[in-house]
Symmetry: C2
């Protein structure tokens, strides 16, 4: 109870952070007195980390096997004799586009006004306006990279006074000090927040992906939620407001849902080879399938008087309990038409176990057919609204653009928020450069295929002669279980005759039951964020 | 009343024709005594044409302007001295695969057993087994073509006795003698049945396509239905059976729906250029948008006790009042999930007028987002069922296949029936070879884009340098009317800068809000029936 009350108060005070930025920045105590607790409660309502995150988990987070974004030895933010010295109070005055936007990092002071439009994270950069970047970079550790430091130096205008340089919290006490333990087999794409994918060979081992190897896509530190104090607030147009405890949610009929979740950035690394994009370097493992179980959203809403025939809400907004440095929760929404599909559940189980912390403990929204980003984890609030979620992730991220549009010219309002994902497929048993020994003149190719919106996979076609001959793959067991209506992927196998030895390029393309198919190449679907990267999967192998 | 009773009895007797073929063929009176009325009632229940088709329309059908399938002077079916003579009774014995399948045409007798698997119309050919092809070809006039005659001659085994050659009905008394008057501006692709498309420049003239230039796609002769005697039979799982008169249907609340309908074969002619396909040579005008009005299917079903939460039906089958030579109605079905979208209507108006005869008078099923073939015209019956429609058009037509699959190897059960169509677009103001004069260095490009399943068009991208630079088209007024949720097309305009004179290839590609996009070329989506022909639309023009 306390937890929910506190987090809701924070959210209410911040009102999603960005609009109220001026107000937030005007708190004098926030900048020079910044200390580690402020990472969690920068608006100074006196909430301790322990209270906010519930009971502390004693198990320390282990870092996953390969970690592409571990802080490297950085050169950056050093004192430069050729530049003037500023105090933190000087920097604090430069917190809006009108007055210029300054930030500091270690001893460096930077004028980033002209960089705002180019920032891959969009206007989130404004949270740091007039102050130090360290606390934010503590949350988005991707910044601790030599290329970021080089870029920053282009905007360098001065030195910060040595008395004003902020103290960096130790790893254990920092926002990522309480992450869950993770399976080392996951392939890390960033550690803070944790983003890690399933190796291809594990994806096709079974129709259901085990919890501990299921890909992790976090935007912020994993909140620690005490189930005893957990509450889900439900509010908005045409329903009675109510907060549900976990026990109350579990009293509704339990509904199972076999559902695939995929990140909008899955297979981004392939698009990145055509031309550089901004985002995590996902290979093809930011996808997985689980049996989720929980309360039907429909049942929950009907218990509050919801009537689908008269209700005027156009969107259902979900808010997570994971908070950014301004205490704004992660947020997303789905159109009401999607939300009312009877299979949408608020899940408390994943493959028969309580949902693991990395996947949304204690409650995750499961909206089948819809991109991972809208399947909000650590669900704290549901709002029926006329509007989409106004969160950064709904409005200025997870959208597609024309290949010619760059960050500076992207009109975010012009593109729809990604909901249903387009059809895709991937070869999982062979990787670029593999040496393959045919059996009876045939090479076995295995992989997955999936499409959003409940569209079943109609067919997977494989070619190893650039489309002259196509072979139809057979569907592996699992997808015909009748447990889903196209919400889950299709695993497939094809035996392809190869007549010659040497280099062979194998292509996979899926067709869904709306007969949409994958585009042939990445060039014509390229987009700044590297999302929706669903061109044919092509793997070159050497046949012996 | 009489009309419905009669047509239902016929349907019941025939039970979709194919399964009961043996029984049907055993009627002795049907073959040698075949005369023109038998085109309508081949099973001899003594129903006259006038009764079956209600009051005769006195207006004679005018043929549309260009007619690609008008009977040409044919060479075929002549007496051949080198072959034996058979009586009709000999031919009649050869009516199954076990006994061989013989048919006659004029003086020719043919053994088509080995052709059945290759027949583009599938097992419909079996309707003629053991008898004359003329009555069936009278319905499917596409057969009256020199290439068909040449093909037939390969299967020639004998001559029919001259006394047994059947009389061909005159045009006026034939099955197509009572077709509606049509606008000559429509471009005909076949005349019997009538298939004619809208010229491209008319498609983009207005968001709404006028009734008289709306494309016509008929599978059989247009039935003449007397509104006084019309009844719609509704039956099946979990509902009370009932037949509704037109007046009874009109007593339900009237619901309007702005909806685009597209033929699965639209743009087939482009795919046909890559490799020959079977089907009508549609250019890009087998599509149109109208405001339909009628009864909500949901309201109708609820009046019969339908409960969406408990009903076990998986499909809703629609049957037309247009009958094939075996008196089987045209039929199709949609999944129950699609049928229960609240916008599905049984329309009696098209653009504010009673639906014209060519478009389904008096009632047409309007299932938004779904291929034209399932929007059954002249609706006579609705059945809630566990099964899909077993009609030829649902089971052995309107399906997609892998590019390598030919007619002989097509496993029709393996492919899903086309429902939602994939995203497509077309350039309508410019055609191949046009000479274009840029204005202020820009060429104006206009067209349409549409996607099935209610997926709105997110973006239309145009390039005239093969994808090096893409230009985002603006959406023309109309699609933001709020009158539809993605059920209707988007008309668009782009002004493309061209720096050089000479030949320029313009490409259009659309992206829908599931971010599916068009495939780049036809090669990799080629299929035997030439359906789902949605690759980039490419037009070469000469810039001055």
């Amino acid at each position: 109870m306390l937890f929910t009350v506190v987090s809701r108060s924070l959210a209410a005070l911040c009102n999603h952070g960005f609009e109220k930025k001026a107000e937030y920045s005007s708190h004098e105590f926030e900048r020079p007195t910044y200390r580690k607790h402020m990472l969690y409660a920068t608006i100074g309502v006196g909430v301790s980390v322990a209270t906010l995150f519930g009971i502390k988990n004693k198990v320390q987070a282990k870092s996953v096997a390969k970690d592409a974004s571990q802080p490297q030895k950085l050169i950056g933010g050093e004192f430069r004799k050729d530049l003037p010295v500023y105090r933190a109070t000087d920097v604090a005055k430069r917190d809006s586009k009108e007055n210029r936007i300054w930030v500091s990092y270690k001893r460096g002071v930077y004028d980033v006004t002209d960089f705002v439009a180019k920032h891959p994270g969009g206007e989130k950069i404004l949270m740091a306006a007039g102050g130090a970047t360290e606390p934010f970079w503590g949350l988005y550790a991707v910044h601790f990279a030599p290329r970021v430091m080089e870029l920053m130096e282009q905007y360098r205008i001065g030195n910060l006074h040595e008395d004003d340089v902020i103290e960096t919290p130790s790893e254990e006490d920092g926002p990522y000090g309480q992450e869950p333990v993770r399976n080392k087999i996951l392939v890390a794409r960033s550690s803070k927040p944790c983003n890690a994918e399933t190796p291809p060979e594990l994806l096709i081992q079974d129709f259901i992906t085990p919890n501990d190897v299921f890909y992790v896509r976090n935007h912020l530190p994993v909140p620690q939620v005490d189930p005893l104090y957990y509450e889900l607030e439900v509010t908005g147009i045409g329903i009675k407001d109510k907060s549900f405890t976990l026990d109350e949610l579990k009293k509704f009929p339990k509904h199972k849902l076999v559902m695939t979740i995929m990140c909008a950035g899955n297979r981004r690394s392939e698009m990145n080879k055509v031309r550089e994009v901004k985002g995590l370097e996902w290979a093809l493992g930011a996808v997985g399938t689980a049996e989720w179980a929980g309360v039907r959203l429909q049942d929950l809403l009907e218990s509050l008087g919801f009537d689908p025939k008269t209700n005027k809400a156009a969107h259902i907004q979900f808010e997570g309990l994971d908070l950014d440095p301004a205490s704004s929760p992660y947020g997303a929404s789905v159109p009401i038409r999607t939300a009312l599909i009877s299979d949408v559940i608020l899940a408390y189980e994943m493959n028969g176990e309580p949902i693991p912390r990395d996947h949304g403990y204690p409650i995750r929204a499961c909206v089948p057919g819809v991109v991972g980003a809208r399947n909000v984890k650590w669900l704290g609030k549901i709002v029926l609204s006329h509007e989409e979620s106004q969160s950064h992730w709904q409005q200025r991220d997870y959208k597609g653009f024309s290949p010619t549009v760059d960050f500076e010219h992207a009109d975010w309002k012009s593109s729809p928020a990604i909901q249903d994902l387009p059809v895709t497929s991937a070869i999982c048993n062979l990787k670029e450069g593999d040496v393959v020994q045919p059996v009876n003149g045939k090479v076995t190719v295995k992989g997955y295929a999936w499409s959003g919106g409940g569209r079943k996979i109609a067919r997977v076609d494989i070619t190893c002669d650039k489309g002259k001959t196509w072979h139809v793959a057979r569907h592996d067991p699992g997808d015909k279980s009748g447990q889903n209506v196209g919400w889950a992927w299709t695993l497939w196998t094809a035996e392809i005759p190869v007549s010659q030895s040497g280099t062979v390029e194998i292509w996979a393309k899926a067709v869904d039951d709306s007969y949409n198919t994958q585009p042939e190449t990445f060039e014509n679907i390229w987009n700044i964020r590297g999302v929706l990267s669903n061109a044919y999967h092509k793997v070159k192998v050497h046949v012996q």
